[in-house]
């Protein structure tokens, strides 16, 4: 693959990676820390399970830039990334992943997250966009007013691209997904990143895993919905029962 890139191309990529090493990597760490910090806010932390943050490794960035440049060449397009606009053009140098237990938590998480981003003066550059493959979840996110995008890799996750400010635009990525989806994501990432695994069985099994983890999310959703329904029913019953009886009952 490398052969298709000229010396000049590689020099440009090296200059971008060097700038990233000397400055961008540190900025990415701060940005990722800042975004992760939002999740410790008292309005968000109780409704999420955990947050993970990461910054792009300089070597992985080099791979990514090489792939992007090859694609640009193959498609006859211009490769528009420079050391100066790296943080603008590559939006996943800094990223966090917010994990939660069940899908019905999402609308509240989205609402609080957007408010916190606004409070800390981040600009939403893209999203939220829900990447889905199961129609049932597609309907759910659309019902919440979230734009959806069908993905063939069979995962479910909501993505946001945020910017630090217009004067000095530096971007970061936020993903929100269930804990079950995270298992698929981690396995896929470990097997296929930075280079896609060529073992057909692995690819086959990862597709099966996507269905299993999606099924796990669906099961968790169902467990929480059953509980919520039962509690709601109990509450309705109580509200119909005379006050005196409620007192006796609660003893």
């Amino acid at each position: 693959m490398r052969n298709a890139l000229s010396k000049r191309d590689l020099a440009l990529i090296a200059s971008i990676v060097d700038r990233y090493k000397s400055e961008g990597h540190e900025l990415a760490k701060i940005l990722a820390d800042g975004l992760a910090g939002l999740c410790f806010h008292s309005s968000l932390s109780p409704i999420i399970h955990s947050v993970r943050s990461r910054v792009k490794d300089p070597d992985h960035l080099r791979d990514k830039l090489e792939r992007k440049m090859l694609t640009a060449k193959a498609e006859g397009k211009q490769f528009a990334i420079t050391p100066d606009n790296l943080f603008e053009k590559v939006t996943d140098l800094a990223g966090i992943r917010i994990l939660h237990l069940h899908t019905t938590q999402f609308p509240k998480i989205n609402e609080v997250l957007l408010r916190l981003l606004d409070l800390e003066e981040y600009k939403i550059l893209e999203g939220p966009i829900a990447r889905v493959w199961d129609d049932e979840y597609g309907d759910f996110f659309q019902g919440c007013g979230i734009q959806t995008q069908v993905n063939k890799r069979l995962y479910t996750s909501v993505h946001y691209i945020v910017g630090s400010g217009e004067r000095n635009l530096r971007t970061g990525e936020i993903q929100v997904r269930t804990l079950a989806e995270e298992l698929w994501g981690e396995v896929d990432h470990t097997i296929n990143y930075p280079h896609k695994c060529e073992v057909a069985t692995c690819q086959e099994q990862i597709k099966v895993l996507a269905r299993v983890t999606s099924g796990a999310t669906r099961l968790v959703d169902s467990i929480f919905r059953a509980k919520a329904d039962a509690e709601a029913e109990l509450a309705t019953k109580h509200s119909r029962t005379p006050a005196k009886k409620v007192k006796a009952h609660s003893k």
Binding site: G34, G37, G165, N168, R170
Partner: protein, 340 residues
């Protein structure tokens, strides 16, 4: 009634100068106050900020009763010290509030210090950390003192701002140095002072480099510390003068201080950003201030410039006057401020 200051849109143009050395006992307060007096004599409106929780400058300028009165009421709504102004920032209620300035001899205006400023200082550590998480609160907090000074400079048409800072390398001095346009280093003629310059160069570069990174992620429209403090030179202290020239023992220290300031401070900063050293020209020694001994103490207890002390002989007064005017002119030249 307490009025919160409005957010800084455009930084007031009066240059800000810190007189800073984290080593104590270098005659920093005496130097600062007499420099301020000399600058006012040259016709400038000077804002003197006592940003040292030890309040030496405030004690110099005000009587003991007045100092006590200020400190006793500084925590109240109508308090008038630097702490009274910054308290709302620590309480979390927001912007600093405007305080009345004290006026000494007409053109010298001054913000009284406060021992409770150390509470603001400990909060500054948190603000600094929060800036490294790109939190709006962190950026606002780190620039709170700067915003206060800006608002006072605007309201009182100030020409030049002097910070008298405590002898340490801490969060408060970090915020002050990053706010300053310029700083000068009072240095004593001893080995400790030379060691201190080295540490100063190292720490300062770290602060500037860190802040430069943090600034790149800051949201738009927030007022930020500029983070470009330019050294203008040093002033050696504590000369015993015999026949006009520094006594031999002290004289031998002068080249060593000059070298240390050049190599351990100027060169280090230049490597970081050449713009930082645009006001540091040789000789780095801005003036030689004689050791006026007990006269400095008398002037301090009278709350006046050394040359105005009742105890000064005509010769001493003339010498002190001339020394400090020379220093003031040399400072103005380095900070590119023309005489009015």
């Amino acid at each position: 009634m307490a009025h919160p200051i409005t957010a800084v849109r455009k930084r007031h143009e009066a240059p800000r100068l810190a007189i800073f050395n984290h080593k104590g006992g270098v005659g920093k307060t005496t130097l600062t106050i007499n420099l301020a007096f000399a600058l006012t004599e040259l016709g400038l409106r000077v804002l003197l900020v006592d940003s040292d929780p030890q309040c030496n400058l405030t004690s110099y300028l005000l009587s003991e009763e007045k100092v006590n009165e200020l400190l006793d009421h500084s925590d109240e709504a109508d308090g008038a010290t630097i702490w009274s102004a910054l308290k709302p920032v620590v309480d979390g209620s927001g912007q600093p509030i405007r305080i009345p300035l004290l006026s000494i001899a007409g053109k010298l205006l001054f913000v009284p210090g406060d021992i409770r400023l150390s509470e603001f200082e400990s909060e500054l550590s948190t603000f600094w950390g929060e800036s490294f998480q790109r939190k709006v609160r962190g950026f606002r907090g780190t620039s709170a003192l700067s915003s206060l000074v800006d608002s006072l400079a605007t309201a009182h048409k100030i020409d030049v701002i002097l910070y008298d800072s405590g002898p340490n390398i801490g969060p408060l001095n970090r915020a002050i140095l990053l706010d300053c346009d310029y700083f000068l280093v009072p240095a004593a003629c001893d080995a400790f002072s030379i060691r201190a310059v080295k540490i100063l160069g190292h720490e300062l570069s770290k602060w500037i480099a860190d802040w430069e990174v943090v600034k790149k992620l800051a949201p738009d429209n927030l007022y930020l510390l500029p983070g470009l403090p330019k050294p203008i030179g040093y002033v050696p202290q504590r000369f015993k003068v015999y026949g006009g020239a520094p006594a031999q023992a002290y004289a031998s220290w002068l080249p060593r201080i000059e070298k240390s300031v050049r190599d351990d401070l100027i060169t280090v900063l230049k490597r970081l950003n050449p713009e930082l050293t645009s006001s540091a020209r040789a000789p780095l020694r801005l003036a030689s201030i004689k050791d006026f001994g007990s006269l400095a103490l008398s002037a301090q207890s009278e709350g006046v410039a050394i040359w105005r002390s009742e105890k000064a002989t005509a010769t001493q007064a003339a010498e002190a006057h001339s020394d400090f005017l020379k220093l003031a002119k040399s400072v103005l030249q380095r900070i590119n401020l023309p005489l009015p």
